[in-house]
């Protein structure tokens, strides 16, 4: 039984390691900033998720104590990763993308980052 637990944990560890590596590799490899944004938001998040899962399993199965607080970190990451990605994308759009390069935002005036109408600053 122990063996099975270990294999399970090792599996998660290896998978998460690979994903973590791939995420960062994508960051280096992918050609344009928007594409690069994909790698860490997904692969890395999953990588960490795997480690956290492994950690939980490790404490429950090997150390024999219930430890679920790793879930909290996962929760945080899942909550925050989209927001950071969203903001980085906005920053990129703001700095490097022109309005014409983007599709139309449907019925609205413009994309929010490019919309200057509410800027009260002179």
């Amino acid at each position: 039984m122990e063996q099975v637990y270990e294999i399970l944990i090792v599996f998660f560890l290896v998978v998460s390691g690979v994903f973590g590596l791939v995420g960062s590799f994508g960051l280096v490899k992918l050609p344009d900033p928007m594409s690069r944004l994909h790698a860490p938001t997904k692969a890395t998040t999953l990588g960490v998720g795997g480690v956290l899962l492994a950690s939980m399993l490790h404490s429950v199965l090997i150390e024999g104590r219930l430890s679920l607080h790793e879930l909290l970190i996962t929760l945080f990451l899942f909550l925050t990763a989209p927001i950071t990605a969203h903001f980085i994308a906005k920053a990129h759009i703001h700095r490097h993308v022109k309005s014409e390069e983007l599709p139309k935002p449907g019925g609205d005036h413009d994309w929010a980052s490019l919309d200057q109408s509410d800027n009260t600053a002179p």
């Binding site: 050609p31 994909h38 692969a43």
Partner: protein
């Protein structure tokens, strides 16, 4: 109702906080539960001014379904993206911008949708239209942008609409 509303401005949040407390303490005991519940009452009360409107969520089952779908998609998405990153040459990637018009109106729902989009296959929600009626999505590899949009709308937005509205 109003008194109750005042005392428990966000019941869902209260439950969430209690759970989070138990997770933090990483141990179940009466003490922890009581204290967690206490916090679950006090903290929403303190932050009430910062969250003025009430969040309504319905259909707990649907929530669970949605979560499972998303989790599964996350796993799949990662494998897909990992393959793209590792095995696809850069010039063979076809990145694209996609506009996803929204039927959702609640900010919370839209946020959840946007987050889901980012966490799932090859898409990142990049911006919102200036009145909030569309999301700009960037796809890592989308030979057919319309398909992406349709999938988002059908797979996620529909479920969210049921939950939130």
């Amino acid at each position: 109702m109003t008194l109750l509303r005042k005392l428990f401005p966000h019941p869902v949040l209260s439950v969430l906080l209690t759970v989070v407390w138990l997770l933090l303490v990483n141990r179940f005991s009466i003490n922890s539960l009581l204290f967690g519940a206490l916090m679950g009452v006090i903290i929403p009360f303190i932050i009430r001014p910062y969250w003025p409107n009430m969040l309504r969520m319905r259909h707990p089952l649907k929530i669970a379904e949605f979560c499972l779908v998303v989790l599964w998609d996350i796993v799949v998405a990662n494998v897909v993206v990992a393959k793209l990153i590792v095995f696809r040459r850069n010039k063979d990637l076809k990145p694209a911008w996609v506009t996803v018009p929204l039927d959702l109106r609640s900010p919370e729902a839209i946020t959840v949708l946007a987050g889901t989009i980012t966490l799932t296959p090859g898409t990142v929600s990049s911006d919102m239209s200036s009145e909030g009626h569309a999301i700009l999505v960037h796809c890592l590899n989308a030979p057919d942008p319309d398909a992406v949009r349709d999938e988002i709308k059908s797979r996620y937005e529909r479920r969210l609409k049921e939950i939130f509205e």
